[in-house]
């Protein structure tokens, strides 16, 4: 400890100490000289030895190295810029990706005390889900001793004033905002005392975005009355910008949940399960308790409630929780996507580092003279390596700064572009910076160590090393190019081929019958069916539990021949195939009253019973019997070309969840208003959601394009990196053989002969790299295929396209510097050296 202080004191005052030491020694020398003794020796060297005693020599030589390295980099701005740009790309892509992951999964939401928030789910032997009937939630809120507060949010849609199209609304427990520490921009937020009292006047709180876009940022809006679902409600406040709520999207139109029945007829606060209001539930854990205790308490409370209301509660219900203060939780099904993203990011980083390593090696060779002189002057190998590593460190530091900047800009750009909520803050936090530094350190180890070692050993012509570098570079770039090609092709295929059903002339109508009894739903749907059937221009009407191109699906995962296959189940009515123009290829369609009959898609039949007649086969543990085969129709995910479908007849209990599909003769959009008015004429207070399937399709396609664009960007980066690396290596190879090229040219060699002589050495490693890349891509795509869907096993076009693109780019990159060498005046080349 004392030693440390001594050293620190020397460090802080080392100039003064140095001067004193110099003076002291100078005095000694003078005295010695006066008495005729001249053996004092080199004062400078002695001073350095004395300074060793202080223990800070390394800092001096480090600073020396840094200064020298900065000068070296300044002298070759082209190299420096290329290197920094490569690192910025290689690290920056990873920083941006990790930054996004950090925002979504690792960073707590910007709400008060996010660590104590729990999000609850419940399960029973027959059911699971995160939707709770409101009475259960209020029972928990009343009786729980482990939770300080229970919050709930229900989702719904409300029309605003005279607008036809309803917008998303949140039905909140009144403590929601206070518990999360939300601040009003104007007015007040919801309060349990004011808004949950019996007979409290109806109120609404606007989200910041809604206030700005829909109400023109009116500063005097508080106190005004608007009509929600035609019912007057007073605007009491506006949320401030940057409030996240508990999830990705902040509530934009918030109404106290106890007032829901006022706005939506037929809703019953006290009803449970089937008919009631379903909400998501969060709790705030009392300090010092574990989530486990709260889960146990709520489970026993649920059992207690079931004893009182056996019909409304699940049997043997248990509650489980997960941290509630995050935008997203990583679930097992997200692992493949995360693994893919990490693999691509690591590949890009490796590609950038390998390329840079090649450049550094080439540059080291160009500095051969410098290093010979330095080692002749007595620099040890360790000292040379240290100098080179310092240069690399400086480069890495610059690259890291650029990468953080690039990552930040990339993340900000994608947040704006993808229209993500404004509270997401792209500025890198400590975790992101730590990650970036880690990536930077990995990069330095990857790109700097071997070249430094080789240069310091003065083995500039370490051709094996160089060949390995070229091979590795070609291989990594190839893998990236091929995989991005495969992904793009798969997406393109999915988008451009017909999804197998009619979507241009179909209107989807979601009547929003949640809460209605099957009998009520049956009456409503039958009336709707009859009235729509008589509208001119409507060809047929049917329904399905999972609407085409919608956000609901029922998927069973199975494996066929080791490949993951998604079976999309849908519950439909007999007219469904006709309405959606899905051809019945074999057997027949479903008929009214059938329970165990099932219709499968051609692809499912081919996968399950290849070469056999599927009619009459048993399916799903022999519970179902196949009666028909229909054409493939990727109803839910057009981008998943591996998906297969199975259809059952919708039974009565599903009727409240059905979506009505209406096939039109002309353009679907023109009939949307008529369909809306027909549906309202049945029950005026219902507000069905109506849209054309074409608009849903366009939205899906836009998402797929976004994904394809991201992947092709990665591929382009890989190609660019490879080209930069090849330019560097060929430039170096040519500069090494300027003399030879000069002699050959002077002796009358053809340019093509000279070129092939120079470039031949690269042929083998490039070929090996290409093969390794193709193999790697095949392996990676095999893995991707197991986890992601729609990727073709062997897509010659993607492989060939990638290899050809790579060959052209590599050729151009190699020829450019080589051509310059050919233009060198032979005499000049010969006189060189």
């Amino acid at each position: 400890m004392k030693n440390l202080f001594r050293r620190l004191r020397y460090l802080l005052h080392r100039r003064r100490f140095d001067r004193e030491l110099a003076d002291d020694m100078e005095f000694h020398r003078e005295m010695a000289a006066r008495e005729g003794k001249r053996n004092f020796g080199n004062t400078l060297r002695l001073r350095e030895e004395a300074r060793d005693e202080w223990g800070w020599v390394w800092i001096d030589s480090f600073l020396q190295d840094v200064r020298y390295a900065a000068r070296m980099l300044q002298h070759s701005p082209g190299f420096t810029l290329t290197a920094v740009a490569m690192l910025a790309l290689g690290i920056g892509i990873n920083v941006a990706a990790f930054g996004f992951f950090n925002l979504m999964v690792l960073r707590p939401l910007p709400v008060r005390d996010p660590a104590t928030l729990l999000f609850f789910e419940h399960q029973s032997p027959d059911n699971f889900g995160d939707n709770f009937p409101y009475p259960e939630v209020s029972f928990f809120a009343e009786h729980s001793k482990t939770l300080r507060a229970v919050m709930a949010r229900g989702f719904g849609r409300l029309t605003v004033d005279r607008e036809e199209e309803p917008i998303a609304a949140s039905f909140l427990t009144a403590n929601y905002f206070n518990e999360l520490g939300a601040v009003p921009k104007l007015g007040r937020l919801l309060s349990p005392a004011l808004d949950e009292a019996p007979g409290a006047p109806p109120v609404v709180v606007l989200g910041y975005d809604t206030w700005r876009t829909r109400f023109g940022a009116d500063p005097s809006i508080v106190g005004k009355t608007i009509r929600l679902n035609k019912k007057p409600a007073t605007i009491v406040g506006v949320l401030s910008n940057g409030f996240s709520g508990l999830g990705l999207n902040p509530p934009e139109l918030s109404v106290p949940i106890v007032q829901k029945p006022y706005f939506e007829a037929g809703q019953d606060l006290t009803a449970s399960s089937e008919k009631g209001i379903n909400v998501q539930m969060w709790g705030r854990l009392r300090s010092g308790l574990t989530p486990r205790i709260a889960e146990q308490e709520l489970t026993s409370l649920a059992a207690q409630l079931r004893a009182e209301h056996p019909k409304d509660m699940w049997e043997k219900e248990t509650l489980s929780s997960r941290p509630g203060g995050f935008a997203m939780t990583v679930r097992a099904e997200m692992y493949p996507v995360l693994a893919l993203a990490s693999a691509l990011g690591i590949l890009i980083l490796i590609a950038a580092c390998v390329t840079l390593g090649g450049l550094l090696l080439a540059r080291g060779a160009a500095r051969e003279r410098e290093f010979s002189i330095r080692s002749a002057l007595g620099a040890g190998r360790g000292r040379l390596i240290r100098q080179l590593l310092t240069e690399s460190l400086l480069l890495a530091f610059l690259g890291l700064m650029a990468a953080l900047m690039a990552g930040y800009l990339g993340l900000r750009g994608s947040i704006v572009w993808a229209d993500l909520p404004a509270w997401l803050n792209p500025i890198p936090d400590g975790r992101v910076i730590l990650f970036a530094v880690g990536a930077g350190v990995a990069a330095v180890i990857l790109f700097a160590l071997t070249p430094a070692w080789h240069v310091a050993r003065q083995r500039y012509r370490a051709t094996t090393m160089r060949r390995i570098l070229i091979g590795a570079q070609v291989a990594t770039s190839c893998v990236l190019l091929i995989v991005s090609g495969l992904l793009i092709r798969a997406l393109h295929q999915a988008i451009s081929t017909s999804p197998g059903f009619e979507y241009e002339r179909v209107i989807a109508l979601d009547p929003g019958l949640g809460g209605a009894s099957p009998k009520e739903a049956r009456a409503y749907l039958d009336t709707l069916h009859a009235r729509l059937g008589s509208v001119p221009g409507i060809l047929s009407v049917s329904m399905a539990s999972n609407p085409p191109l919608g956000n609901r699906w029922t998927v069973d995962k199975t494996r066929v021949d080791g490949r993951a296959v998604n079976i999309h189940f849908n519950n439909v009515d007999p007219g469904f195939f006709e309405t959606m123009a899905i051809p019945v290829l074999r057997g027949r369609s479903l008929a009214r009253g059938e329970k165990r009959e099932i219709v499968v898609s051609e692809s499912l039949a081919a996968a399950q019973w290849p070469g056999e007649n599927p009619i009459g086969k048993r399916f799903s543990d022999a519970k179902d019997i196949v009666v028909g085969v229909v054409g493939n129709a990727r109803l839910v995910s057009p981008e998943d070309s591996d998906a297969v479908e199975a259809y059952r007849l919708a039974q009565d209990d599903l009727l409240p969840a059905m979506v009505v599909l209406i096939r039109t003769a002309g353009p679907a959009e023109s009939l949307v208003p008529i369909v809306a008015s027909v549906s309202k004429s049945i029950v005026p207070r219902r507000f069905p959601e109506i849209h054309s399937l074409r608009s849903s399709f366009n939205r899906k396609v836009a998402q797929a394009r976004y994904a394809a664009l991201t992947v092709s960007l990665l591929g382009a980066v890989a190609l660019l990196l490879a080209c930069l690396g090849i330019v560097g290596l060929v430039t170096y190879a040519v500069s090494q053989r300027t003399k030879e090229i000069g002699i050959r040219m002077a002796l009358g060699a053809q340019p093509s002969q000279v070129l092939s002589a120079v470039l031949r050495q690269f042929a083998t490693p490039v070929a090996i790299g290409l093969l390794a890349g193709i193999g790697g891509a095949a392996a990676l795509s095999q893995f991707l295929r197991q986890e992601l869907y729609g990727l073709s096993n062997f897509d010659p076009a993607a492989y060939l396209g990638a290899v050809v693109a790579f060959a052209i780019a590599a050729g151009v990159a190699a020829l450019l510097p080589a051509r310059r060498a050919l233009q060198v005046d032979p005499m000049l080349a010969l006189r060189y050296e």
């Binding site: 003076d23 002291d24 020694m25 005095f27 000694h28 002695l46 060793d52 005693e53």
Partner: protein, 111 residues
Amino acid sequence: MPKSPNDKLQGTLTLLVLRTLDARGPLHGYGLCDHIRSVSDELLRMEEGSLYPALHRMEHDGWIAAKWEITDKGRKAKIYSITARGRKQLADEHEAWQRLTRGVARVLRYS
């Protein structure tokens, strides 16, 4: 920290410097060298390269104190003098040295 080649004699060096300063009073670096050389009949020759670092360390350990003074010849010089802690250190090292030499001498005599 790299070890200086004189490391083995470092202990002796401290002992010599402390003993000289104790006996002769404050001295500057050259004076120290000169004194040790002449007293030891030129048998001990101090390396300047190890003397100054050693002086620095001892100054820091509080065994000696240093101040800049003007010599009688009008030249500024750094004068070192022994402190109370230095005297205690000197006694310890003296004792240790004598034990060492006694031990070595006995081994040389009897083995």
